[in-house]
Symmetry: C2
Subunit: 483 residues, 2 copies
Amino acid sequence: MQVLILALEFDVRFIAHSLLSLGAAALISLFLASQHVSADESVLNSGDTQALHSLKAQALNSDLSYEILESLTTEVGARLAGTPADQKAIQWAVQKMKDLGFNKVWTEDVEIPAWDRGTLDVKISDPYQHTLTGLTLGGSVGTKGRALNAEVVEFVDLTALQAAEPGSIDGKIAYISNRMVRHIEGRGYGVAVPARGAGASIAASKGAKALIIRSIGTGDHRFAHTGGIKYADEVARIPAIAISNPDADLLSRVLTRGKTSVTLSSTAKRHDDKVRTTANVIGEITGSQAPDEIVAIGAHLDSWDVGTGAMDDGLGVAITMAAAAMIGQSEIAPKRTIRVILYGAEEIGFYGTKQYMIDHANSVDQHMIGAEWDFGLGRIFELRPGVGEQSLAAIQVLGRHLLDLGVLMGKGNDAQAQSDMSLLSKAGMPAVNFMPDGSRYFDYHHTENDTLDKIDPDDLKQNTAVYTVFAWFAAQSGVDFRR
Amino acid sequence: MQVLILALEFDVRFIAHSLLSLGAAALISLFLASQHVSADESVLNSGDTQALHSLKAQALNSDLSYEILESLTTEVGARLAGTPADQKAIQWAVQKMKDLGFNKVWTEDVEIPAWDRGTLDVKISDPYQHTLTGLTLGGSVGTKGRALNAEVVEFVDLTALQAAEPGSIDGKIAYISNRMVRHIEGRGYGVAVPARGAGASIAASKGAKALIIRSIGTGDHRFAHTGGIKYADEVARIPAIAISNPDADLLSRVLTRGKTSVTLSSTAKRHDDKVRTTANVIGEITGSQAPDEIVAIGAHLDSWDVGTGAMDDGLGVAITMAAAAMIGQSEIAPKRTIRVILYGAEEIGFYGTKQYMIDHANSVDQHMIGAEWDFGLGRIFELRPGVGEQSLAAIQVLGRHLLDLGVLMGKGNDAQAQSDMSLLSKAGMPAVNFMPDGSRYFDYHHTENDTLDKIDPDDLKQNTAVYTVFAWFAAQSGVDFRR
């Protein structure tokens, strides 16, 4: 016991991993069982605590979230917002939540701009000839089907491109070769991704007629990573593509030998005049005592068109649906309403969540607390709160209920909800964030290779148990989390 | 010391790995240095032994094989036999061997049939819609650009397909879902690959109008594995394609839900009337005393068209070229000639080696011993001989010179040379086989993902040192290896 208590004062994450890997989870559970009952009394009574333990055990032994994910990836698969596959995903989600016994299920329409990926051919044409593996980036214009051939100029990162003199790469192709760094919290993404989002317009402002980026991803497999771009106003819109990391290695090696040209041809097309429709899909387990008080858990339903969206964000859909369903089917219906929000059109620009903020502008304060899952695959190792100070003691109680799942409390109290739900967070909703081990996520993110086989069913059970415990605790305890 | 000697009586491979992982290589070297000089005297004199040690140390510290591989994959890349890229590879190989100081370099033409992969679109069309990742198999006919849509019937392996009644799958698509097993010696390949080679004609004989196979590969990434097929005479030639392993998982999951249809469209084309030309490229380090006695080391120069052929078989090209070059540049030019044979057109049906057997029919007995490398990436753990009994003692001496590289003697004396060189082996050439750890090779084999970044430079140094030691030993010792 002393070892444990001492350890908590040091690097909690390291210790949690170490203890788990030593098979000490059972020991921690025993310790907690002996310590917690009295500590929890002010937040959950002993009956509730017993019910929570029971629900946690059920979640840890249930295949429900895996079954939901298998169903989504098998019966729907890739579901780019606004496409027929996206419409199927919406129907699938409505039906699945009804089948799982949600008390209310509905959709809320979202209008989105239209974009088609088309096809891409990209080749090194001189001094050697290589067919490259690439993808046009989301929202990019194409080459109108014409082959665009030009010399390539390499920049080691976006800052180097920004430093180039205007006109210095007139008529050339800018190539940003920055390499995303692997990190347990996925923090390499934030460092590398501006090259994708902002690179095209900066390249255009220097005179480039196309942008190539090294994929924003940590994998060494030959998949290009797609993702959205944003054109600046009043700058020419040039085609922007990502090539796979092995192909980026190759292009950089060829460039070390001298002047290098690339030919690319993309049939991608923005339809700025056309609007497509998608939807947010919402389901609720109605609260028994405070139905207007909402505990929100969510994910996004859409995916990119290249993989089957198993981890981005099928995993979030499966975890949140399963957590709510198991609570709905449990003996004690919790006091508050649990709302599962499956946002539409996240990938192409957060359109679903923006529409949600409009549709629910008058009820933001009914969202008592929220948590999204849109951060890949892996075991959750940390809980990060962003709640009113008066509720931190209750969050500590929640944390103790998650400790035997390998989850420790993070430092600070400034977390915002992830992804779509960050807008609710900014509008004042209290939130918690659950951090999974994101070391491997960006090997697969936004690639063809985002498929069901990559998901570890045991990790998924842990993920689901964490969300189940959180949602039930937040709904049943009645704690005021507001700041 | 006793531990080592005892250990050799048990599982040598396990012990070799364990010792190396314990950092015991240095200890083994010391042991050998103290034991070997006298044992080797009858095979190599002490001056030769010193020269061999020196060459081995040089090979272990040299980047030459990596530089050759980097050059081939960067300046040539994919090189399907008979294509312009293959012609570039031939020119590259000739020039590289000249630059490396080979005494003689020449090419020998090889005529091959023409086949073009074209494009493939393959989709699950009913009851769900999924775009699949697939490749038309080498030598397969296409669908003449027309979409072929049919119900899919799954067979768990080729034996199950063979057992089907003729006519029982009339007009349907046969789908063989056998899963290749991972194995250190790659033995899962031999079990699984008949589905690829023979599946199409067996499926056709049962009435199928196309064949789909689960890729013959161990990877869980979304790459289809190509490879050659062989049509039987007097059976309809039907299109044969491989889908990636995650896509095979998906297709099998859809099939568990009921009747499933697939649409495929392939523009692959056999040109049975056309002949293309490629070449074997041969280079020699001429022997100082017995120039007509040949120690043959080899690999194949061609690759499939989808990856850059870094491991299949650029690795073999790099290892054998570098080994011969380092020997050629060493102080003691060995007595026999070292011949590097870079075969053409291995992948599409062993055309280069067949031509070599014709061209060199009268000099097979000049090939004193041979070793090919066409088995992927990884450290070599075992030497397997296939030589005359009288030379086994000398092979043991060779083995002792390889022990500090982590290579132990295999059991038996019936090895045949790998791949192309198996034809020389069958014609009577003595051979040795070096077995690398093939656990990972079939993750990449015949895919787009066969690229330079997968190669571990340290493993490549070990591989090169083994071939260097072998070739120098066989050329300098003058041992008669013949059976």
